[in-house]
């Protein structure tokens, strides 16, 4: 059996430490900030998370750029030539073109290298939901599971990687347009915080409103507690570490027994879409059944 390379992309929010620990890597999307273009790096070479989010807070718009086809190709070819199978767990196909683009490239590469295996999985998620799928894949790899077994597991269980998120300011989501909710939902609202899940089609769906940040944090914890099954929990935050730490404390106080709770910065791609002060809890839990209209 060939060695398996596990790849994710910039929306997965995994830190350098986590990627090293679980031996995974990622495809870099891009962001344009003002006139400049940067790699959507999860290792934050060009600026710190705080600097990045302060740029957004100052009103500069950040746009996202998808992974280039040749980037997929070069990486796939390199790994295949090294004699490895490739598992790419991509950002939800409902949010990004990654799955489509990578699948096409993967098919081409597999034709060129007939005994190669490149598996693209649509995570139907993003953030550390996607990241936790990568970690799960890594653990299965360590257990000696084949790439097909890992793929089948992920396909069968991907809706169990739950997201409970809220944002600081609805306007970022509104502008980015990467969320499902009615027009009225985004009316002239003050202090209203949406609770955003990843629905069965992998869309971000604001399925509930609460008034005020505190109520929103409580709602995230309550939802996570109700759904949590086992394993790791991740709290991803857009430069609001205090809230992330508070969520961790609340989860522990609520008696949620995670194997470990990670606190990670929300990467540049999700940051550009959701804005500063977004905070999300990800964990393995009950299967999502909600479809946003």
């Amino acid at each position: 059996m060939k060695e398996i390379a596990i790849l994710l992309d910039s929306t997965c929010n995994m830190t350098k430490e986590l990627m090293e620990r679980f031996d995974v890597d990622y495809f870099r999307m891009g962001v344009s900030v003002g006139e400049e273009e940067h790699e959507a790096s999860l290792t934050w070479e060009d600026y710190t998370p705080h600097q990045f989010y302060d740029i957004m807070r100052s009103g500069t718009r950040v746009f996202t750029i998808q992974v280039q086809d040749h980037t997929y190709r070069d990486r796939f070819v390199k790994l295949v030539q090294e004699g490895r199978d490739v598992l790419y767990i991509a950002c939800s196909g409902a949010l990004s073109a990654s799955v489509k683009a990578a699948s096409k490239v993967a098919d081409e590469v597999m034709k060129e290298y007939p005994d190669s295996k490149i598996v693209v999985v649509d995570s139907l998620c993003a953030g550390m939901g996607q990241g936790l799928m990568g970690i799960k894949a890594s653990e299965m790899r360590s257990e000696g599971k084949s790439i097909e077994e890992i793929r089948d597991y992920l396909e069968a269980n991907k809706l169990k990687f739950n997201q409970w998120a809220t944002v600081g300011d609805l306007n970022y989501l509104k502008r980015a347009g990467r969320i499902k909710a009615s027009k009225a939902f985004f009316g002239n609202l003050f202090g209203v915080k949406p609770i955003i899940i990843s629905d069965i089609k992998g869309n971000n769906f604001a399925y509930k409103k609460v008034k005020g940040r505190k109520a929103a944090l409580q709602e995230l914890v309550d939802s996570a507690k109700n759904s949590f099954v086992d394993g790791y929990i991740s709290i991803d935050h857009g430069d609001c570490e205090a809230d992330a730490l508070e969520l961790k404390r609340m989860l522990e106080e609520a008696g949620v027994k995670a194997k470990e709770i990670f606190i990670v910065p929300l990467g540049p791609i999700l940051g550009a879409t959701c804005g500063p002060d977004t905070v999300a809890i990800y964990h393995f839990g009950s299967e999502v059944t909600i479809l946003g209209e």
Partner: protein, 550 residues
């Protein structure tokens, strides 16, 4: 004129006098206002409620019929809490007189007992020192003096008037808030005035100070012409509605192109509703230059009906406009009541299907709400009154209307209504979910306002000076300040647990400039940095700032 019995014809006369007396004195009753804010005026409300009752009366010899028609008209025309209680009083009275051609003094007295009992039972938590007390003591303290077959109606009403006066003078002793502001209860005064009018007729006295024109021309929704005076600017334009008969002498009627007709209208106004039935075109448009539209329309035909109103004076415009929409039975409709163009627009945007124009200065009547229910054409209706003095009328409307299941969320203020509406998910939730979410949200907000005091008074230990800004938190006066900004800051500092609140939103009224409003909010941001603040151009009257805190 004196009599031992009372029949329909005479009762009708008495009621007309009662109304005239009320119409002659309603302004004095309006002035008996505890809060130094020109709000939901009791005198106006009672007068309009009573007038609606009178208009519903059909000539009859039977006192039972007259009372029934009166009560029915009043129930539907009820406006404001005092109007609702008055309508309930007369409903009870009508129940007591039911089926009778004429009644004796004792019988009428019994009906009056039934009247006040019905009014009491209409309130969840009857307060003494109000119209209820006056209604009760006005007959209970008289009953024992009635001698069957001896006491005449003139004597009965003379005793009732005396008893009511004593009762009314005592209201400040029962209701501390009256004592503190040095007034007697306004609703009680209104009821007394009704019986004084009756007595005046029986004693052959004239009613003075009453404007004859007022009786017959009074529309159900009265128009306050003072809203447009010599200093006014035409902000809103004219609501112009007409039916245009297309004429073959002017155009080829067959080839009339309604789309290009509408396109013209769109360049000359807004809120356009325009459709064609056969050779008649119906047009509704808001325009500042109606002559352009009229001139244009006349190129195609002539008017068969025409109506034009200055929108600064227009009430329930919103309803008129909505009436034109196609009617499809809906599952749920949300109806709210609000005043101020900015607030009305916002409420619609948030998901209110109908926003009735009404509020503090013009309390929406039961009938207007029922019209809206009919128009909504929904299985379920959720109504947000957004004003304390409209809640009773709203509940009465919900009870009277049978075409839908109507639930009232008892929102007392605009901030409560806003908070409730902001929880709507955008239409795909069930009526129960919408109701529960809105109810919960409406109860979570603290409502405050700042406005100019309309007179000197002392209330809740606060000395109020006319022209200064009064500060109210959850319906309680907490301060008074010469400076509006300072008033806002002082008021916020008095909100319980303010340092742990997260959200503050403010609607600024038409008397506040955008600049001033923004400056005030920047001061709030400095003083309370943890508050997420939002500013909305409400364009409401009366209140400089309506503020909600979560």
């Amino acid at each position: 004129m004196d009599s031992l019995t009372l029949d329909g014809a005479l009762f009708n006369q008495l009621l007309n006098y009662a109304y005239q007396d009320l119409a002659a004195h309603y302004e004095a009753i309006n002035d008996l206002n505890v809060f130094p804010v020109p709000d939901g005026d009791t005198g106006t409300n009672m007068k309009m409620t009573f007038n609606n009752g009178l208009k519903n009366i059909k000539e009859s010899e039977n006192i039972g019929d007259i009372a029934d028609n009166l009560a029915r008209g009043m129930l539907f025309g009820a406006r404001g809490n005092s109007g609702v209680l008055t309508s309930q009083y007369f409903k009870g009275l009508a129940d007591g007189l039911k089926g009778k051609k004429e009644v004796t003094v004792s019988e009428f007295a019994e009906a009056m007992v039934q009247g006040y009992k019905t009014a009491y039972s209409a309130t969840v938590d009857p307060t003494e020192g109000t119209i209820l007390t006056v209604a009760r003591e006005g007959i209970e303290n008289v009953k024992k003096s009635i001698v069957s077959g001896k006491t005449t109606f003139a004597q009965l009403f003379a005793m009732v008037v005396d008893a009511m006066k004593i009762s009314l003078d005592n209201t400040p002793n029962l209701l501390p808030v009256l004592k503190e502001s040095g007034v007697i209860d306004s609703g009680g005064k209104g009821l007394l005035t009704i019986f004084e009018g009756i007595l005046k007729y029986l004693n052959g006295e004239e009613i003075t100070g009453y404007d004859e024109e007022d009786t017959h021309s009074l529309p159900t929704s009265s128009v306050d012409f003072s809203a447009f005076n010599e200093n006014s600017v035409l902000d809103y334009g004219y609501c112009t509605e007409f039916l245009l008969q297309l004429l073959t002498s002017k155009i080829d009627v067959e080839k009339f192109d309604i789309q290009s007709f509408i396109a013209y209208l769109q360049e000359h106004g807004n809120s356009i509703v325009c459709f064609q039935t056969g050779t008649i075109v119906k047009v509704h448009i808001h325009t500042k230059k109606p002559y352009e539209v009229i001139e244009f329309a006349q190129r195609y035909g002539e008017f068969v009906a025409f109506k034009m109103e200055n929108m600064a004076l227009q009430h329930n415009e919103v309803l008129h406009k909505e009436e034109e929409k196609a009617k499809v039975r809906k599952n749920v409709s949300i109806i709210s009541i609000a005043q101020g163009d900015g607030i009305i627009e916002l409420f619609k945007e948030l998901g209110s299907d109908i926003v009735l124009n009404g509020g503090t200065t013009m309390n929406t009547s039961t009938a207007e709400m029922i019209d809206a229910f009919k128009f909504a054409n929904s299985d379920e209706i959720i109504l947000l009154p957004n004003e304390t003095n409209i809640i009773m009328a709203a509940k009465q409307a919900a009870e009277l209307f049978k075409g839908s299941r109507v639930r009232v969320i008892e929102t007392k203020t605009i901030p409560e209504g806003y908070n409730a509406l902001s929880m709507l998910m955008g239409g795909d939730e069930s009526a129960d979910d919408a109701y529960n979410d809105m109810l919960e949200a409406s109860q979570a907000v603290i409502s405050c306002f700042v406005t100019k005091a309309s007179r000197d008074t002392t209330l809740n230990g606060v000395k109020v000076k006319k022209g200064y800004y009064i500060e109210s938190v959850d319906g309680k006066l907490v301060g008074c300040n010469e400076n509006r900004e300072e008033a806002i800051l002082e008021m916020l500092s008095k909100v319980e647990d303010i340092e742990n609140r997260e959200v503050m939103f403010a609607f600024y009224g038409q008397m506040v400039s955008e600049e001033d409003a923004e400056h005030a909010i920047s001061r709030v941001n400095e003083a309370f940095p943890q508050l997420e603040t939002g500013l909305i151009e409400g364009k409401q009257d009366v209140y400089d700032f309506l503020i909600g805190i979560n």
